[in-house]
Symmetry: C2
Subunit: 147 residues, 2 copies
């Protein structure tokens, strides 16, 4: 992680200039908090980290910038489905097609994909129970109105 921070920060600066996004102190510190961890933090956790360097920062600023960074492709959401709980009464083994735009979820039979399996032992003695595969893309409806 450490060795990838510097190039990430440079890429971040470049991208901000490219997009005409003012390079504020807050932005730099927020992005650094994100780029220097592999803990997949929540916005709240980022806020707590940033607070140590900028005690006056507001949680709203953290949220606004996370949004901008995601839009700019500088970071990703671990799951696109965090906005609300999505339920599935189908207990058979299957995968999901998830539309990146409208967040619709469609079933995909498990044999539509090449078998998902570990090639190595999982790190940190993680006990594997099952695989959850989201196939991300655009549903036909959203593809038709893509801008």
């Amino acid at each position: 992680m450490r060795d990838t921070l510097a190039p990430r920060m440079q890429n971040f600066r470049d991208r901000c200039v490219e997009l005409g996004m003012p390079l504020t102190h807050q932005r730099l510190v927020i992005y650094e908090a994100l780029a220097s961890t592999d803990e997949h933090p929540t916005p709240e956790a980022v806020f707590e980290r940033v607070r140590k360097k900028i005690p006056s920062i507001s949680l709203a600023t953290v949220y606004k910038n996370i949004r901008s960074f995601a839009d700019a492709g500088l970071l990703r959401e671990v799951s696109l489905l965090h906005e609300s709980l999505r339920l599935d009464a189908n207990l058979a083994d299957h995968h999901h097609l998830v539309c990146e735009r409208c967040k619709s979820v469609t079933d995909l039979p498990h044999d539509a994909l090449a078998p998902v399996r570990m090639k190595i032992n999982p790190p940190d003695r993680f006990q594997v129970h099952r695989f959850n595969v989201e196939v991300l893309g655009l549903c036909a409806r959203c593809a038709a109105t893509d801008s």
Copy 2:
């Protein structure tokens, strides 16, 4: 879907008896709303469906029962990470280990898994962009305190 509803309802009744969960009218209607769709509804959407049959139902009841059903293994959450946004500044191709108990997320190099790929064309002209794989299970810390 239609042809699987009856057995699902029977399984539901059996499981409720097994667990000593009273079979209330509300429960039956809520579960039926879930078992008769493949739209992966939100709790709010389930509430709207159930409301048509039981106008007096409360959203809190829908939430409470969804929780019970999930605990009983009668349904699943499409993603375990819906409680809060989780961020990832690592744009390299990789997968995630997600702990079902504490929701911690750990990186897994992309070559730790057999290549993920479609064996058939996606249904409904869905445009595939990428795959998001969550390896679900228990992290070492949670496995140690498993009850």
